[in-house]
Subunit: 218 residues, 2 copies
DNA sequence: ACAAATAGAAAGTGACGCTATCGATAGTGT
DNA sequence: ACACTATCGATAGCGTCACTTTCTATTTGT
């Protein structure tokens, strides 16, 4: 299979495929001639995986490269793979920002209340704590009930994520699904949340006419 | 209050504050002299809001500008505000990508099953459908149970979001919380999901020693 | 009086994710 | 055999983004 074929099957320009090859996001093909390299289905699949991570998951090239590297290293445990995957996403959203110690403490308490056994290095702590800081900066203090609802939802999602992993038997495919699921799951819950929010908004604040407050007051 | 004071209180460099003023993300101060402009608490608060949207929420300058514009226009209804807010986020993650019609249909069925009354224009449809496409591209077909779990979680979150809005009385603050909550909520659930995932991972795949497979097999 | 701060505008910076161009080479159709 | 297209690797360039630097003209604080 030539590079043009890979391009055609994935919808990614050949030049971009070459770029991914150069960056090490896709494994090299088999060099046949000086200007001919043979690619196969694994390359097509890999390009699709890269696009899913970057386009839908919002990962940077560097983050995707790191994640894919652990996928390729089949001597790494599932825990390692998950660790790298969840770090890769956090970089894009919120990573280095040193959050308030109080916020971290509050998240730790929340996690404990929900029976989560976690390590302090989990980037989720930093991300969640930074969100609390951001809420505080804008003058809103999330109630315990609010956080509990989010935590319960997170539990439900995480169980579904792990349940999904059990549908695969080959270890390398389990690892791949963990990475893809971790990355794409964020986008999925975000999308569904928009839908549920619209529903709840119309429930809480019905606007029959679709007009503004003056109109409603009639 | 001088610009240096705003900078000090927010931790944002004065040049960046000037940049935000130029871009219209922050309202102009009161011009006192040719090289003197008076700012107040509202400016400080606004800069903090901008930082929360950009840094923690991951919004682009353009998206933040758009969102803030509807916040400032107090003649817009809550539904409008929500609409703009959720569109602004979607741009960053997944917007223009024309998704498979089948995937959209599947999301619509899911939404209906969960009793959500939504409009087809809701960007959540496009985002969720694109995620299904991305899963499919990587060779994983999410089960109905998987999607149901995510949808249930989304319902729980959306109810908490709306519940939070009722804690505020001033209409402009309700709108602000809706925007901030929509943007920051995505990050919050992402962070908590990481924590729950780590817990569930150790439940499903216990790794007593924390070492690799060879070590476990001993 | 004079260093420091401020205003506004314009140009520059560095990261990022490609994209274009190059010369050399090889396969393809006629 | 011959034109033509495709491919290779490498290098350089491009467009966007979020600032940041630099500039001059002022004005403040000491």
């Amino acid at each position: 299979m030539k590079i043009s074929e890979v391009s055609r099957l994935t919808g990614v320009p050949p030049t971009t495929v070459k770029y991914y090859l150069r960056e090490g996001l896709v494994h090299a093909g088999e060099r046949v001639e000086r200007n001919q390299t043979a690619y196969d289905d694994t390359h097509v699949q890999r390009v699709r995986l890269v696009r899913a991570l970057i386009e839908t998951g919002g990962l940077s090239i560097a983050a995707a490269k790191e994640v894919l590297a652990t996928l390729d290293a089949d001597d790494s445990s599932l825990a390692d793979t998950f660790d790298v995957a969840c770090r890769a996403i956090s970089v894009g959203g919120a990573a280095a920002g040193a959050s308030d110690a109080g916020a971290r403490e509050r998240i730790a308490t929340l996690a404990a209340a929900h029976g989560w056994r976690t390590t302090p290095e989990n980037p989720g702590f930093a991300v969640a704590a930074q969100v609390l800081d951001a809420f505080a900066a804008t003058g809103y203090e999330p109630s315990r009930g609010f956080l509990d609802a989010y935590a319960s939802a997170a539990s439900v999602i995480a169980r579904a994520d792990l349940e999904a992993l059990t549908t695969r038997t080959r270890p390398d495919l389990v690892a791949e699904l963990m990475v893809v699921g971790t990355v794409l799951g964020d986008a999925l819950i975000a999308g569904l949340r928009r839908l549920a929010q619209e529903h709840e908004t119309t429930q809480f604040f019905p606007v029959p006419t679709g007009l503004d407050d003056q109109e409603e007051a009639k």
